[in-house]
């Protein structure tokens, strides 16, 4: 499988939407008074682009994703998401930015007391929509990711691959403009990993910007996509 993706704004099907989805300028990040875990990070994620974020374990991939997700604030530099500079952002604006993103966590973060159906429906439910208004959408997506027969099951009873697909379905249900995935294939066999990758590429073709954090070079080699490589606290862009 060798797939070309829409790389960067140049491949965009939609004109006039070339404002970066994410822009980092000289961003530094430290926890407390410790040393900087990220230094002078500058990059952009263009609309409809597909890229990998890679680097050795502990290089700061998850920290970088947290900065994009706005769950951590940079120690210095400028982070803007969907054209909005995030320092001093209001709580309401933060919520509306997050609603435009989907995220797949490495450890899935499914809520164990909710059924698969309820977990996948969560992003729509927190928007205040009634259950009847999104039922068909959720069932459709669950069937499409192969969880049609497992929608009543609680996450602790799902296999690793099923949890992965439930987490991905939850990230996709609200049709995000930006999808962030942290090691989305880390817990599944290579065959399922490839199928999930195809899913992300399909999403990207439909217009979602995708950033996949992984250190699985075998997976990255399947796709001709830009690579953001973290190492020694700095970021290098390849491709």
């Amino acid at each position: 499988m060798d797939v070309r993706t829409d790389r960067g704004a140049g491949g965009s099907l939609l004109a006039g939407m070339d404002e970066p989805v994410v822009r980092f300028e000289n961003v530094g990040m430290r926890y407390g008074v410790g040393p900087e875990v990220l230094s002078d990070i500058s990059f952009t994620i263009a609309p409809h682009s597909f890229q990998f974020l890679t680097g050795p374990s502990g290089a700061g991939k998850t920290t970088l994703l947290r900065l994009i997700l706005l769950s951590a604030r940079p120690s210095r530099g400028l982070v803007s998401v969907f054209g909005e500079e995030v320092s001093g952002i209001s709580s309401d604006a933060l919520t509306s930015l997050r609603r435009r993103m989907g995220v797949v966590f490495q450890d899935f973060r499914l809520l164990d007391h909710l059924t698969t159906y309820e977990n996948v429906a969560l992003p729509l439910r927190v928007q205040g929509r009634s259950e009847a208004s999104y039922r068909a959408e959720v069932v459709e997506l669950l069937r499409w990711v192969g969880l049609g027969e497992r929608m009543h099951v609680l996450p602790p009873l799902l296999s690793g691959g099923e949890k992965q697909r439930a987490a991905i379905a939850r990230a996709l249900i609200a049709r995000p403009e930006l999808l962030l995935a942290d090691e989305p294939t880390g817990n599944v066999d290579p065959q399922l990993g490839r199928r999930l990758l195809r899913l992300f590429i399909e999403l990207n073709r439909l217009g979602t910007s995708v950033l996949i954090a992984t250190h699985d070079y075998g997976l990255m080699d399947l796709v001709d996509a830009r690579r953001l490589v973290l190492g020694n606290n700095r970021l290098r862009v390849e491709g």
């Binding site: 995220v103 007391h113 309820e118 969560l122």
Partner: protein
């Protein structure tokens, strides 16, 4: 999920009828069934029970005091002291006549000498010859519907029989009774307020505990786009339900306790113990106002629980 599947090919609008009938679709987002929840519901139930009992007791005292006051305020007493050289019987008759002549007096009833002596029996014992003792004579005067001018009656009695006849309108006793009843009601209200405050504090700590215990849930809710208000509402809903359960159990237990107490008081009515209870409480019944206040305390406890949890969550998230 097939290898070749695409988003465009995904089946359109699956009919809702295909859903498994037992599928749970709208479970509370904050887990509800935990030992901490049960403990909090128990604490709210106990506090509500105590507050409701306290309110019931205050209501019994207040309504009994009101009955006593109503009964006592309908009567005044004229006391005629025996005076050497005066005809006490004539003084009694004259005082009764003066009272009867006053507008607004419904009836007068002079106590005979024998009746007056009998009034002393509880203190002096029976079988005594009290004939030589100057026992004061009493006339009970029942007031009518109007407001008789008691000051004028007192004045006339003092003028007609100076140092012999005096009027007691029970004002001192009534004011003491009223002070006692007000104090009991005030203490009851203060205890109810304290118990509600304690409920609020217990809920604050429980909410903080629940927030800490559900940190992951809160984080996921934030990531999927929930705002602080939505999260606070979810916690409030959970705690309001707990409060409602605790409040209902506590109020029901208090109603049952008051009902059993009333039943026992009725059973014992004929016995000496029943007489004592009757004398103290004037009938162990709290009436609809008492029952309503017990139910109201249960409802207030639930509302306090919901509101306090919401405020606590908002502060926690800010």
């Amino acid at each position: 999920m097939s290898e070749g599947a695409t988003l465009e090919r995904a089946p359109r609008a699956a009919p809702a009828a295909d859903l498994p009938p037992a599928l749970r679709r709208n479970a509370p987002l904050v887990p509800t069934d935990s030992s901490a929840s049960r403990a909090l519901a128990a604490v709210i139930a106990i506090l509500t029970f105590l507050a409701a009992l306290c309110a019931g007791a205050a209501e019994i005292v207040a309504s009994s005091a009101a009955q006593w006051q109503g009964a006592v305020a309908q009567e005044v007493t004229i006391q005629v002291r025996p005076n050497p050289g005066r005809d006490t019987e004539a003084d009694v008759a004259r005082a009764a006549a003066l009272a009867s002549a006053t507008p607004g007096i419904a009836a007068t009833r002079p106590f005979s000498k024998a009746e007056s002596e009998r009034l002393l029996e509880p203190w002096l014992g029976g079988g005594l010859d009290l004939g030589d003792l100057p026992v004061p004579r009493l006339i009970t005067v029942r007031l009518g519907s109007g407001t008789p001018d008691l000051a004028a009656l007192r004045q006339r009695l003092a003028e007609a029989m100076p140092g012999v006849a005096s009027l007691d309108d029970h004002a001192l006793w009534l004011s003491r009774l009223s002070t006692m009843a007000n104090t009991v009601v005030g203490v009851g209200v203060a205890v109810v307020a304290l118990v509600l405050l304690a409920t609020g504090l217990a809920v604050t700590f429980a909410t903080r505990g629940a927030m800490a215990g559900n940190r992951e849930v809160v984080e996921v809710l934030h990531f999927v786009g929930a705002d602080d208000d939505f999260i606070a509402r979810e916690f409030q809903r959970r705690f309001f339900r707990l409060g409602l359960r605790g409040g209902a159990i506590g109020a029901a237990a208090a109603l049952a306790a008051l009902g059993v107490g009333g039943g026992l008081a009725r059973l014992w009515r004929a016995s000496p113990a029943g007489d004592e209870i009757e004398a103290l409480f004037g009938g162990f019944a709290i009436g609809w106002r008492g029952y309503a206040s017990v139910v109201l305390i249960g409802v207030i406890a639930s509302i306090v629980t919901g509101v306090v949890s919401r405020v606590t969550v908002r502060r926690f998230l800010d």
